[in-house]
Amino acid sequence: MDHGREINLTTHIGGGLILRNPVMTASGTFGYGREFSDFVNLHHLGAVVVKGISLLPRSGNPPPRIVETTGGMLNAIGLENVGVEAFLRDKLPYLREIGTPVVVNILGDSLDDYAELAEILNDIDGISAIEVNISCPNVKQGGVAFGTDPGMVRAVTRAVKAKTSRPVIIKLSPNVTDITVTARAAEEGGADAVSLINTLIGMAIDHRTRTPRLANVIGGLSGPAIKPVALRMVWQTARAVKIPVIGIGGIMNAEDALEFLVAGAAAVQIGTANFVNPDTTERVVDGITRYLQESGCQALQEIIGTLRLC
């Protein structure tokens, strides 16, 4: 075994975007990148996905916003963010300097919001792709999440694609009966890739006070508890669509990441693990590299989607 051997870790995540390695950060768990500069060499990451951005700043939900559960956590941050203007002014320049591909995660209340955000971001230098968070309520249509209706998924995807020349990644909600249906809807709408999963909707109660543990009552479940569900959905989706699939959900280490890659993910995103160990992303890059060296692979592509069913 030649441990010094160079491994080709590059991976295509759609729309012509090639990452130097498959390890991305998950939106909302890595701030705007800078927050992790003490712990991670940001140059070593495949891409940084920033906290979800809306047209206007949002202050989010009242506290308590987070609660720990067995093997996971619930969050009801409420999509707090600085808004696109402040993001471009205060946050993007730092990331642009780093040079690692920046993926901007966007969210909105209506098709128009998404379209407008896509248009604004299209003119900006230093943005490699747009990731569309469709797990938000469509305020104009009764508050049902965009991501649970294939028609709306198609429409959001089209609306964003129409306004941008950047690769568009549609981030799918796992709170659906059949994720391959929404994945295909995104593909039909012109998505360059899909990423999944966003959080599962969950809840926790303090039985003594008989109150919800989150002010928002319900929140999003993330962390290792959801990994089996995420992996299953990634595997199903990778078989159902032709565009690249980015795997997310409960990835804590390189072994977990490899499971997603073997299941068919072209890249992975790391979320909750950043809170547990702020250096997780870099460690996962190292761990994948080591595994490939040890298994005699030359390139990451040799393992993607190689799950053997007997």
Binding site: E35, F39, G60, P62, R65, T272
Partner: protein
Amino acid sequence: MTAHQLKSEIVRKEQLAKDIIRLTLAAPEIAVRAIPGQFMMLKATDKMEPLLRRPFSIHQATSNGLVQILFKVVGAGSKFLADREQGDILDIVGPLGHGFDLPDDPSANLCLVGGGMGCAPLYFLTKRLLTNRLEGSLQLYLGATTAKELAVVKEDFENLGVKVFAATDDGSLGYHGFVTDLVAESLDKELRWQFYSCGPHPMMNKVARFCAAEKWPCQVSLETMMACGISACLGCTVRSSPAKLISSNKQFLHVCKDGPVFDSGDVAWTTAER
């Protein structure tokens, strides 16, 4: 601000009371930078449960590269830490957050009020205040449920040459009642005081109201649930006070970044959300 993630050796473990532990950790990078009121996030398991790190105030940071935490066992995370022994390695991240602002004026009269484990950061603060050659008076109040919880730390403060006004809920040491009542009864109201407080939320709420009434500045160290401690998760919010909302246009503040130490006038003292 630079923070560090370190594998830190426990160089000393002290069992101060039944459920109260003090750990001394070798963490030069943190010790050299730490400011009183700042905290660290400690990994409180070698498995996935509890999943998240746990925040603990820096109880002391010494020039020879050591930091201390003083904590009470309240659940799985603190239990794990309490079960570690000298020589064990802990994974720690720090120093984090915005600490106490030290007085510019060396003649300021300072009043420190700690309740329960709130005494932890106040010890570091007291030491730092004393090194800044103080002319004004420094008054220290510590409250606890019972003598056993207070005795050891009281002595530590006294060894710094500071008189401790003690209050216990059961009267087993010092004043019988709330430390805040002791403050109200015994503090010289003719002077102008700068308050520093850390302890249970209702206690700090009382301190804050008291100071607001007297128009004294007051800094409080708040606690919330934290997932990251490094301003990435946005989970550690407290509501801004109406005044702060107007001045900053921010509805919420983040304890791990804007705090844990705040001007008491900046935060909304609603208890409903806690």
